[in-house]
C-alpha cells in the first residue's frame, strides 16, 4: 500500500519534471532559430541577397563540431545550424540542410539527413525574404531526445527504487505487525479457552502495541476481579439462602409431625417468617443489582437534601426516642442531583445501622455542606465504631462485623448505601472521628 503510493508519487513528480524540462529545451531551440533567422534577415536587409547566400555558405563551411542540435545550444559565433536559401523563383541558392523545404512558418518533426549520413528529426522556421525568396533555419532535436531519454531513465530508476524500498518496508513492517497480532490473538484464544490468568504479551518497548496490550491487560484484570467478585457473591448468596432454607425445611417437617392446632399455627408462622427473611434477602440483592446497573440515573433530578434529611429525621424521630438516642442536625442549604427514593433509602440504611449498632443513649449527627459543585454529607454516631482495618470492608455485601451473625439483616445495608452513592457519581468513606462511626459522603450538587 505504502509502496504503491510512493511509486505513484514518484512517477507523478517524474512526469511533471519531464514535461517541464522538455518544454523548456524545446522553447530554447525555437528561440535559437528565431535569433538566427533575425540575424540572417538583418544581413539580407543590409547587404542584399548575394551577401546572405555567402553568409549562409560560410556558416555551412565551418567545421562541424557535433550535431546540429548540439551546436544550436552554443553562442552565435561557432554555432552551426541547418539552412536553406531559396531565390524568388524557388531555386535553392545556398544551405546544405538535407531535407525537403518545409512549408512556410514553424514546422516540427522534419526528417533530414545529417552530414555524417545518419537521419534525424529537426524543427525549423521558413521565413519569406522581403525581395522574394525564402530563408529556412533548422535545428536538430537529437539533444532534446537525448535529454528526454536521460530524464526518463532517471525517473524509471528512482521509481523502481522507491517501489522496491516501499515493498520491502511494507512486508517487513507487516511481518512485525503480524507477529504482534498473532501473539495477541493467541493470548485471546487462551483466555477464551478458560485461562483467565493469561495476559497479552508486553515487550516493554512502549510502542503502540505495548500500549494496546497494557490497556487490554488492565481490562482483563478488571474482568477477572469482577468475575472473582461474582464467584464470591454467588457463594455468599448460596450460603445466605441455604441457611433460611434449612430452617424452613426443619419447620415444615415439624409442622407435618405436629397435631396440636395451636402449636401447628405457631410453627406455620415461624415458617412464614423464614420465607419473609428469604424474600427480604432476594429483594435486597435485586435492588442492589438494579442500582449497580446504573439505569437509575435516567430519573435523576435536583433534590433538596436538607428537606430529605428533615423527612428522615421526622420518620425516625419516635424510633430514636424509643432507643434513647438523640439526633442533632447541622444543615446548610444543599441541593443534589439524584433520585429521591434511593437517597432516602441510603440515609435510612445509615440510620438503621446506627440504631442497631451504636447502642442506647448514643447521639447521631448529620451535617450538610455545599461547596462549589459538590455537596458533603457527614453522618456520624458516637457508638463503639468499627476497627480501622474494617473501615473499607463494611461496604462489601454480606459483610457483618458481628462474628456470630446473630443480629438481624443480611449485610446488605451499607453495601446498598455505597452502591447508591456510587450510582450518583459520588463517593463514601468512613472517616476518622473522636468517637463512634462517621461516614462522609460527597455528592454532585444539583444545579
Amino acid at each position: 500500500m505504502v509502496a504503491g503510493i510512493s511509486c505513484v508519487l514518484t512517477l507523478a513528480v517524474g512526469v511533471v519534471t519531464f514535461s517541464m524540462v522538455h518544454h523548456e529545451i524545446e522553447r530554447q531551440l525555437d528561440h535559437r532559430i528565431e535569433l538566427e533567422t533575425q540575424s540572417l534577415l538583418a544581413t539580407y536587409e543590409r547587404a542584399g541577397f548575394d551577401v546572405l547566400v555567402r553568409a549562409v555558405t560560410d556558416r555551412d563551411r565551418r567545421p562541424a563540431r557535433g550535431t546540429l542540435g548540439y551546436l544550436a545550444g552554443r553562442s552565435e559565433a561557432g554555432s552551426r545550424m541547418g539552412y536553406i536559401v531559396l531565390d524568388a523563383s524557388g531555386r535553392r541558392r545556398a544551405g546544405d540542410f538535407q531535407a525537403e523545404t518545409p512549408p512556410p512558418g514553424w514546422s516540427e518533426f522534419i526528417r533530414f539527413r545529417r552530414p555524417d549520413g545518419s537521419s534525424g528529426v529537426a524543427q525549423a522556421m521558413n521565413a519569406p525574404l522581403p525581395g522574394g525568396g525564402r530563408l529556412v533555419v533548422a535545428a536538430d532535436r537529437a539533444d532534446l531526445l537525448d535529454i528526454d531519454r536521460a530524464l526518463l531513465r532517471v525517473f524509471l530508476i528512482s521509481a523502481g527504487l522507491v517501489a522496491a524500498v516501499g515493498v520491502l518496508a511494507t512486508f517487513g513492517f507487516g511481518g512485525v505487525v503480524q507477529r504482534r497480532l498473532n501473539a495477541i490473538h493467541g493470548a485471546a484464544e487462551g483466555i477464551m479457552a478458560g485461562d483467565m490468568r493469561r495476559r497479552m504479551p508486553v515487550d516493554g518497548s512502549g510502542g503502540e502495541f505495548d500500549q494496546l496490550a497494557t490497556v487490554l491487560n488492565r481490562m482483563l484484570d478488571r474482568i477477572e476481579a469482577l468475575m472473582s467478585n461474582l464467584r464470591q457473591v454467588s457463594g455468599d448468596i448460596a450460603h445466605d439462602i441455604r441457611t433460611p432454607l434449612t430452617r424452613l425445611r426443619a419447620r415444615l417437617e415439624d409442622i407435618e409431625a405436629e397435631t396440636t392446632d395451636g402449636v401447628r399455627k405457631a410453627r406455620v408462622e415461624g415458617a412464614l417468617s423464614e420465607v419473609d427473611d428469604l424474600q427480604g434477602l432476594l429483594s435486597g440483592l435485586l435492588a442492589l443489582a438494579e442500582i449497580e446497573g446504573r439505569s437509575v440515573r435516567d430519573r435523576f433530578v435536583a433534590l433538596d437534601l436538607v428537606a430529605l434529611v428533615h423527612e428522615l429525621a421526622e420518620a425516625y424521630g419516635p424510633a430514636l426516642e424509643k432507643a434513647g438516642m438523640a439526633l442533632s442536625l447541622d444543615l446548610e442549604p444543599a441541593t443534589v442531583r439524584g433520585d429521591r427514593p434511593l437517597l432516602l433509602q441510603a440515609l435510612s440504611n445509615l440510620m438503621d445501622n446506627s440504631l442497631f449498632h451504636a447502642g442506647a443513649g448514643a447521639r447521631i449527627r448529620i451535617l450538610t455542606r455545599a461547596t462549589g459543585g459538590s455537596v458533603r454529607l457527614v453522618f456520624g454516631d458516637d457508638g463503639p465504631g468499627v476497627p480501622p482495618e474494617d473501615r473499607n470492608r463494611i461496604f462489601k455485601r454480606f459483610v457483618r462485623l458481628d462474628p456470630s451473625r446473630t443480629t438481624a439483616g443480611h449485610g446488605l445495608g451499607l453495601a446498598t448505601v455505597a452502591a447508591i452513592v456510587s450510582a450518583h457519581g459520588g463517593d463514601i468513606a468512613v472517616t476518622p472521628s473522636a468517637r463512634g462511626l462517621q461516614f462522609e459522603i460527597n455528592l454532585v450538587a444539583g444545579d
Binding site: 435485586l286 419516635p318 424510633a319
Partner: protein, 225 residues
C-alpha cells in the same frame, strides 16, 4: 366487589382467586393479555389486578390500553421484576397501586380492598367517622368522644389512612408508601413507633384501644362500638 385478575401462573391465580372469593369478592381470572382486553371491554369491574408479565399483551400494555380509553377503574399491578424503575413505570402508566411478587396474601387483599372502596373521582369527604372518632379533613382536627386530640401532621395522615379503611387491614408497607413515601421497608420499624405515639394520644382517657394491631400484617380500625 367484582375483581378482574390477569395472571398466567395457574397456581398463583387459583390462590388469589380462592382468597379473594373467601373475602366475599367475585373474581374473574384471565391468563392472556389480549383476551383480557376483550373481556374488559365487555364488562365493568371494581378493581383490576394485572400481572405485568403475561403472554400476548402484557399487563402494562393492558393498563395503557384501558387508560387510553379513558377508563379510571382502579388498577393494582403485580410484578416479579425488580422494584425501583419498574414501580415508577407502572405508576406513571396510571396504576393506582403496585405489589412485588412474592407477596403475602393479606397484603394483596388489603390493597384490593383499599382500591375498591375509594370514592369516585371528584368526591371528597370533609369529615371521616369511625366508631367514636371523628376526623375533619378541612380543619385538620381529630376528636374522640367529643374530646379534641392534638396530632402531629404525620400522625394525622397515618390516622386518616386507617379511617378511610374502616374494618379493613391496612398493611405496614401500605402505610410506609402512603404516609412516608418510603418505597422500601427499613429495618427500623418506623410505622410501629409512630403508631404507638398515635395510639397513646387517641387512647388517653379511654378504655378501649382505637386501633387494633393485626399481627404480622398491619393495623385496623373497627367500625363497631
Amino acid at each position: 366487589m367484582k375483581v378482574f385478575l390477569l395472571e398466567d401462573d395457574p397456581e398463583t391465580a387459583a390462590f388469589i382467586e380462592r382468597g379473594l372469593t373467601e373475602r366475599g369478592h367475585v373474581v374473574e381470572v384471565e391468563a392472556d393479555g389480549s383476551v383480557a382486553l376483550r373481556r374488559l371491554a365487555e364488562r365493568d369491574f371494581d378493581v383490576l389486578v394485572l400481572d405485568r408479565m403475561v403472554p400476548g399483551v402484557d399487563g402494562l400494555a393492558v393498563l395503557k390500553a384501558i387508560r387510553a380509553q379513558g377508563r379510571t377503574t382502579p388498577v393494582l399491578l403485580l410484578t416479579a421484576m425488580s422494584q425501583i424503575a419498574d414501580r415508577v413505570d407502572g405508576l406513571e402508566e396510571g396504576a393506582d397501586d403496585y405489589l412485588v411478587k412474592p407477596f403475602a396474601f393479606v397484603e394483596l387483599a388489603a390493597r384490593v380492598a383499599a382500591l375498591g372502596r375509594r370514592p369516585p373521582t371528584g368526591e371528597f369527604d370533609a369529615v371521616l367517622r369511625v366508631a367514636d372518632i371523628e376526623m375533619n379533613l378541612l380543619r385538620r382536627e381529630v376528636r374522640r368522644g367529643g374530646r379534641s386530640v392534638d396530632l402531629q401532621p404525620r400522625e394525622f395522615t397515618l390516622l386518616e389512612q386507617l379511617m378511610r379503611n374502616p374494618g379493613r387491614i391496612v398493611t405496614r408497607t401500605m402505610l410506609l408508601e402512603k404516609v412516608w413515601n418510603f418505597g422500601f421497608d427499613p429495618k427500623t420499624n418506623i410505622v410501629e413507633t409512630h403508631m404507638s405515639r398515635l395510639r397513646s394520644k387517641l387512647n388517653e382517657g379511654f378504655e378501649r384501644s382505637a386501633i387494633r394491631t393485626v399481627r404480622g400484617s398491619g393495623y385496623m380500625m373497627n367500625d363497631d362500638a
